[in-house]
Symmetry: C2
Subunit: 117 residues, 2 copies
Amino acid sequence: MKIGELAKRTEVSIRMLRYYEAEGLLKPTRAANGYRHYGQGEIRTVERIKLLGSAGMTLATIKQFLPCVRGEGPVFEPCDELRNVLHEQIEFADQKAAKLAQSRAILESFLFDIERQ
Amino acid sequence: MKIGELAKRTEVSIRMLRYYEAEGLLKPTRAANGYRHYGQGEIRTVERIKLLGSAGMTLATIKQFLPCVRGEGPVFEPCDELRNVLHEQIEFADQKAAKLAQSRAILESFLFDIERQ
DNA sequence: ATTGACTCTTACAGCGCTGTTAGGGTTTAG
DNA sequence: CTAAACCCTAACAGCGCTGTAAGAGTCAAT
């Protein structure tokens, strides 16, 4: 599919799809006319990028482990390091979740203070 | 206390403390020499700002309800709207938490994929 | 063949946050 | 008195993300 369609399906702007590519997260093929061409799998990839990104992960970070799981054949890569990165990121996510919970609690205490009077 | 001390106590850079002020989140008094002067309460305020900020809240957003809870006397302000903002933000935090959880799950699935082989 | 929708590249610009630098005053301790 | 440490303002700069515009080629339908 062409970029416009992928954009519609994933609700990610064309601008950003091209940006993902520039950052090495997508590698669409090119038609003779220069148009980008995406396969079905890219939808899933983009969804994942969206999700990880919405959790505050940077594209550079996402890129680190995306190739390992994009289904590009067996991984002989530095997967020991990848494991580490993943562990790091998971822990990071946990920290973020903790902060978020505290934050939410503060908001609620604010609400409580306001509400009672 | 002066800005340097507040910075040390809260672990927020002097730069950022001044920025908070520029954005209307802090209102230190000024000594005759122009030095900013902070009271004890500011520590707590800054901690809250830190926490809310670390949860992805923008300073402009935080500012919306901070005055209402900074202990600046009774609140006759548009607190109905504040209530709404708070509810919005809480819901927002919940959404973020959900995303974060999904994100974490993805990371773990990646880890799982790598680990088994 | 023309038109409208789509695509391409390049580049500028903005947001929110943060560090750094420049240039200058103030305070404190030796 | 001097030097170190601290404070002030103002401004530039970068990061990561995102929109928008300019200028040009491509495609599909009429």
